[in-house]
């Protein structure tokens, strides 16, 4: 049980980071479906730089930078040329595995995997004192540094969105574009910035994915984690805390599915959980909204004579 939860939190990290990025982007008015591609870019650069420099910190920074650059470049056709963000996002999900597959075959003579030997991986930090707490300790306080960082990103994202001027501007760009334009803000720049930040977080998530445990890159290694992140920020309605909760739950369900692989139970069932959960959540929210609207309409109808005659 402890192992499942600890592994779950570890597996949740790329999803959590990408989902927080996606939430920021969504608040700024971009539905970022390209997170998977940005994560993959981060994973590749992290492995490559880690391998060439022998420094895992540099590797992670390079991963985050690669994600940010891909995110920024991805935003440009959408903000400047009127490309459709959904199709472009799906396109990035096709382009990036192809791009890295091409790079791998051209420069490394590999079809899909780059696994340099003896490169430093991410360490596991057992936090002194805390990791000895029975039950909680081994689950929460024996993780890799990026996982700790990803948890810090939850309040940081909240702070950015709700307690800074930049956050206010980003939210204005997403929720009230007209007001933002009239206030003299550049929607394009705000959305490019938000997408670059989303890419950076997804890239950092990719670095963790590639450098924790086995240090290797595979062009299909994200395995749809970017889309699970999409499910997470939709589930959390782009609010940092709820998004994070969803991402962590999905990560744990991933860990359960790996656990099930060793038994005879089908592991595809937990694989479906995040995808189905988001649909159920959307239904739940919509039904509740409907009911609230109906109640409001009924109440309003009671107050006016006109309403009484027209209320159905």
């Amino acid at each position: 049980m402890e192992v499942i939860l600890a592994t779950g939190l570890l597996l949740a990290t790329p999803i959590l980071l990408a989902a927080l990025g996606g939430a920021i982007d969504m608040q700024a008015g971009i539905v970022n479906i390209g997170l998977d591609g940005m994560m993959l870019a981060g994973a590749f650069m992290a492995v490559f730089v880690d391998w060439k420099s022998g420094n895992v910190v540099l590797g992670c920074l390079a991963g985050a930078a690669a994600g940010a650059i891909v995110g920024y470049l991805f935003a440009l056709p959408i903000t400047r040329l009127g490309a459709n963000q959904i199709i472009a996002g799906l396109g990035l999900g096709v382009l990036m595995p192809g791009f890295f597959g091409y790079i791998l075959s051209t420069f490394f003579h590999e079809q899909s995997t780059l696994s340099p030997s003896n490169i430093p991986g991410l360490p596991i930090w057992h936090i002194r004192g805390l990791s000895q707490i029975p039950g909680v300790g081994p689950i929460f306080f024996s993780q890799d540094p990026i996982t700790y960082l990803s948890w810090l990103c939850i309040p940081a994202t909240w702070f950015l969105l709700y307690r800074t001027v930049l956050g206010l501007r980003l939210r204005a760009a997403g929720h009230n574009a007209n007001v933002a334009v009239r206030a003299g803000l550049s929607l394009e720049r705000l959305r490019e910035l938000a997408t670059a930040v989303a890419g950076m977080l997804a890239g950092l998530g990719g670095s963790q994915l590639a450098l924790v445990g086995v240090q290797l890159f595979n062009k299909d290694m994200t395995a749809g984690r970017g889309y699970i992140a999409l499910a997470a920020f939709y589930f959390g309605r782009s609010r940092p805390v709820m998004t994070a909760v969803a991402a962590l739950v999905f990560g744990i369900s991933d860990s359960v599915s790996i656990r099930l692989q060793t038994t005879n139970l089908p592991d595809q069932i937990p694989e479906m959980v995040p995808y189905l959960a988001v649909i159920v959540a959307l239904i739940f929210v919509a039904v509740r909204q409907r009911a609230a609207e109906r109640r409001a309409a009924a109440a309003a109808a009671l107050l006016t004579d006109e309403g009484l005659s027209t209320a159905r």
Partner: protein, 399 residues
């Protein structure tokens, strides 16, 4: 876009900007401008894509011209290669039409990848086990079964979209991944034949197979069928009342509702037709190419996802869809051979397709009348593009 195409005039709630008075008096010019705008929007992403591909090729020490020429030769250099290209284009055309019809009605159905999977699985199951059905009727039953299951797969998102206004992009995309996992589970746990490579179901009965029209290729009766469906799609949209209804709802759901059309009916019908075409594509691949259902068969980059690229490159026009499916069919059929003989990684195909999807619909040169229009609030919004509020994504629009 112009007054002449909106015979009922802009209604009070229509978001289409009112016709420019100058243009209404010069209808001929405006039609030409409209045509050139459309061609520009179709060709621009293609040019960008081929340029990106050329840069990638040149940067890795390859000659773009000769690589593209090799692609062309392998895709269209002989009767066999043409047949291969047509065969490869067939599922793309089906998923392209299926995606385009929902797009045209203003609905963003990206769930055809899921329909392809469940339709393929259904066809494999029918083709392998329904031995009571006589002769080649079995093939027809399997095709219909695939289409039916493919349609049912997108019924839930269609209902959620129409009755609860739930964003169909997310639900259909999520169901794509559910379908991949679900069919893998069904193969592994209920219908496993062998697991050499990916898990496979037992082979379908020989009489369920679609026999090749050209020996040694995968070109089956599916190709002319898909072609007929594309032409039928064009005719249906332009010449029937139901087609008009779809186009009206796509242009302005509220206006269409006000004049007595039903956006709900249109949503459900376009989703179901799209899903059926996806399922049909999956069934054709099983009956004509694979002869079984193989888990994860639709990868790099997936028949349903390619359908989205076909729909946007073809701009929802039947001829455009055919040409776009041929383009992707060429890439798919030539990619393997080009990798073998030209030492060009097959991943180039994905680079080209991904780039094309990113740049689909971009306008690098704005049409004259767009530039001329006074910048008012809606136009300003249109210019920044990608306007999203309350989580509803911008829908693709084409005329």
């Amino acid at each position: 876009m112009t007054g002449e195409q909106q015979p009922l005039g802009p209604g009070p709630v229509v978001s289409v900007p009112s016709p420019d008075p100058v243009e209404s008096s010069q209808m001929h010019t405006s039609r030409l401008a409209d045509l050139s705008d459309r061609i520009g929007r179709a060709v621009t992403p293609l040019i960008v894509t081929l340029s990106v591909g050329a840069i990638v090729l040149a940067a890795t020490g390859r000659n773009p011209g000769s690589v593209y020429w090799l692609y062309f030769q392998q895709a269209a250099g002989s009767w066999t290669s043409i047949a291969d290209t047509l065969a490869a284009a067939t599922p793309f055309l089906l998923t392209g039409i299926g995606t385009a019809i929902a797009f045209r009605a203003g609905f963003f159905n990206v769930g055809l990848e899921g329909s392809v999977y469940v339709g393929a699985f259904a066809a494999a199951w029918v083709g392998a086990t329904w031995s009571a059905i006589p002769g080649s009727l079995l093939a027809a039953t399997a095709l219909l079964g695939g289409a039916l299951v493919g349609a049912l797969w997108v019924l839930l998102p269609a209902l959620l979209r129409t009755y609860l206004a739930i964003d169909e992009v997310v639900t259909t995309l999520m169901l794509d991944y559910v379908a991949i996992a679900l069919t893998t589970y069904l193969v592994l746990d209920h219908f496993l034949y062998n697991t050499v490579g990916n898990a496979q179901t037992p082979p379908i009965l020989p009489r369920a197979e679609l026999s090749p029209l050209v020996t040694g290729t995968n070109l089956t009766i599916g190709a002319p069928l898909a072609l007929a469906l594309a032409i039928g799609y064009g005719w249906f949209l332009r010449r029937t009342r139901a087609g008009t209804e779809i186009r009206m709802v796509g242009d302005s759901p509220r206006f269409a509702a006000a004049v007595g059309f039903s956006p709900r009916r249109v949503a459900i019908v376009t989703f179901l037709v799209g899903g059926a075409l996806g399922g049909l594509a999956g069934a054709m691949i099983v009956l004509g190419v694979l002869d079984n259902f193989t888990a994860n068969f639709s990868t790099s980059p997936g028949f349903g996802f390619t359908g989205i690229a076909v729909a946007v490159l073809g701009m929802g026009n039947w001829l455009g869809l055919i040409l776009a499916s041929l383009f992707f069919g060429s890439l798919a059929s030539a990619g393997g051979i080009v990798q073998l003989f030209g030492n060009v990684p097959i991943a180039l195909t994905e680079i080209l397709q991904g780039t094309l999807m990113i740049f689909a619909g971009v306008r690098i040169v704005r049409a004259r009348r767009r530039r001329a229009r006074k910048v008012d609030a809606p136009a300003a919004e249109a210019m920044v593009g990608a306007h999203v509020s309350s989580g509803t994504a911008e829908k693709p629009r084409w005329k």
